[in-house]
């Protein structure tokens, strides 16, 4: 019990760290996911190939491996001098983008083909059709799977703790190293995650109710 009250600053810092990392990598995953989903349904074969390769690569790689790549390969080959937080953001964002892409693609496929045909027949380009007609109508269908994806992302961000990024799960290591009762630490950490994931599913349920499209 006292572990929480005595170390409130550490818990708070970890809690906020997890929220920030989840928000940032979630935003990155959304942007990338939408773009890659656009690639995957585009009429241009090289773009489709790139999209498929992206999804295959990031969906089938263990997240821990991506973290290791971000820590030890990316700085050497691409960009040296990235902070641990940025590296965690990249690993989580890229990994999750593959799942976001597939959720969005399944949503795109639920929009009747006639909608896109009508848009193209009044002279819209492929990207206008996607942005103005198809994606807005796909939104509602993709909300439930996206909710699951972001909850998974929240929990996946715990891996960053093992790579010395300040976040909720890392607090556990910090405090158990100091010899506190591990059961209580775990309980409070778990509760912290629960607060975040419940908030996410609540927000998404709200969104789902707001975004009905009548047919």
């Amino acid at each position: 019990m006292n572990v929480l009250l005595d170390h409130l600053p550490e818990f708070r810092e970890g809690f906020i760290g997890t929220i920030l990392l989840t928000l940032a990598s979630g935003a990155l995953a959304m942007v990338l996911g939408i773009v890659i989903a656009g690639f995957r349904v585009s009429p241009v074969p090289p773009l489709r190939f790139f999209g498929a390769a992206w999804v295959t690569l990031f969906r089938n790689t263990p997240l821990t491996v991506l973290f290791l790549v971000a820590w030890f390969v990316v700085p050497v080959i691409f960009m040296p001098g990235l902070s641990p937080w940025t590296k965690a953001l990249l690993a989580l964002g890229f990994y999750t983008s593959a799942f976001v892409c597939e959720a969005i693609r399944s949503g795109i496929n639920t929009v009747p083909l006639g909608q896109a045909e009508a848009a193209r027949s009044i002279g819209m380009t492929f990207f206008q059709t996607l942005r103005l007609i198809v994606l807005p109508q796909a939104t509602r269908t993709v909300i439930p799977p996206l909710s699951s994806i972001f909850i998974a992302l929240t929990k996946n961000s715990a891996i960053a703790g093992a790579f010395s990024v300040t976040e909720l799960f890392g607090v556990q290591k910090l405090l158990s190293d100091k010899g506190f009762d591990i059961a209580w630490i775990f309980l409070w950490v778990a509760l912290g995650y629960l607060i975040i994931t419940f908030t996410i599913s609540g927000l998404f349920r709200l969104l789902e109710r707001r975004l009905g499209v009548a047919r």
Partner: protein, 258 residues
């Protein structure tokens, strides 16, 4: 619209708006379009009829390249259809299309449906686009429904909105792909009347339909298709009273006498 018909009278043969030459298309093993040659003059109303599976819908959809063709050429107003991309999008804006299943944008109001192409494709100012949209909606008789969503309208109303949406682009030619086939019988006429009016105003139209009454009264020419070929072309009176081909005689006897 009057200008158009004047031009047509001045030089009837030279003013070809849509020209299909040697068009072939396969769906897998099925040869849906076989050596189609067709010319549509400016201001002309061509009605395409034929049994189902004869390729008439596919023919209609190739004209704005919603279906690609395997061989042959299609030109619209002297320009051959380009490959998928910006050029094609630009050309499609000049070719109005009305679908069997209406395909109104489900997440937009009726007014937005008619404005969207103007503002996003033609880059017309909002106020101007709205004024034009309201005029067109009044013209097709659904002005009072402007703020509703498509799902709140009857089929006949939706199809009239779809016609207004296509007209808002100021198209050179309008394609109708079985516009009344998904409608309840009592709603067919309200759509046909709008199309009749368009025809009288001198719009160039290609209409795939099963409405023989419309073909008789509005068409300049009837094109009869069967098994992917154009079997017969004639003015409506001649086609309906005295079809030359056996295939057309057979088709007409099935639909006209019961």
């Amino acid at each position: 619209m009057t200008e158009v018909s004047v031009t047509k009278d001045a030089k009837p043969a030279a003013d070809d708006l849509v020209v299909l030459k040697g068009v072939n298309k396969h769906f897998g093993a099925l040869h849906v379009l076989q050596d189609i040659d067709m010319t549509i003059a400016r201001g002309e109303v061509v009605v395409v009829i034929g049994p189902s599976g004869s390729g008439k819908s596919t023919l209609c959809r190739t004209i704005n390249r919603l279906e690609t063709v395997d061989s042959g050429t299609i030109t619209i107003d002297g320009k051959p259809l380009p490959q998928e991309g910006k050029e094609l999008a630009k050309l499609r804006a000049d070719v109005g299309m009305v679908f069997q299943s209406f395909n109104l944008f489900a997440h937009k109001t009726v007014l937005e449906n008619v404005m969207l192409g103007q503002t996003k494709v033609r880059r017309t100012a909002k106020a101007e686009a709205e004024a034009k949209a309201r005029t067109l909606l009044d013209r097709v008789g659904v002005g009072s429904q402007a703020d509703k969503y498509p799902a709140q309208l009857s089929g006949g109303q939706q199809q009239r909105v779809a016609i207004a949406r296509a007209l808002a682009m100021g198209p050179k030619v309008m394609l109708f792909d079985e516009p009344t086939s998904a409608l309840d019988p009592e709603m067919i006429n309200e759509v046909l009347e709008v199309m009749q009016q368009l025809a009288r105003d001198g719009m160039t139209m290609v209409v795939v339909t099963h409405e023989m009454g419309f073909a008789r009264s509005a068409a300049n020419r009837v094109v009869f298709m069967a098994d992917g070929r154009i079997v017969e072309e004639a003015v409506p009176d001649q086609f309906f009273s005295n079809p030359r081909s056996d295939r057309a005689k057979d088709f007409l006897s099935k639909i006209l006498h019961h």
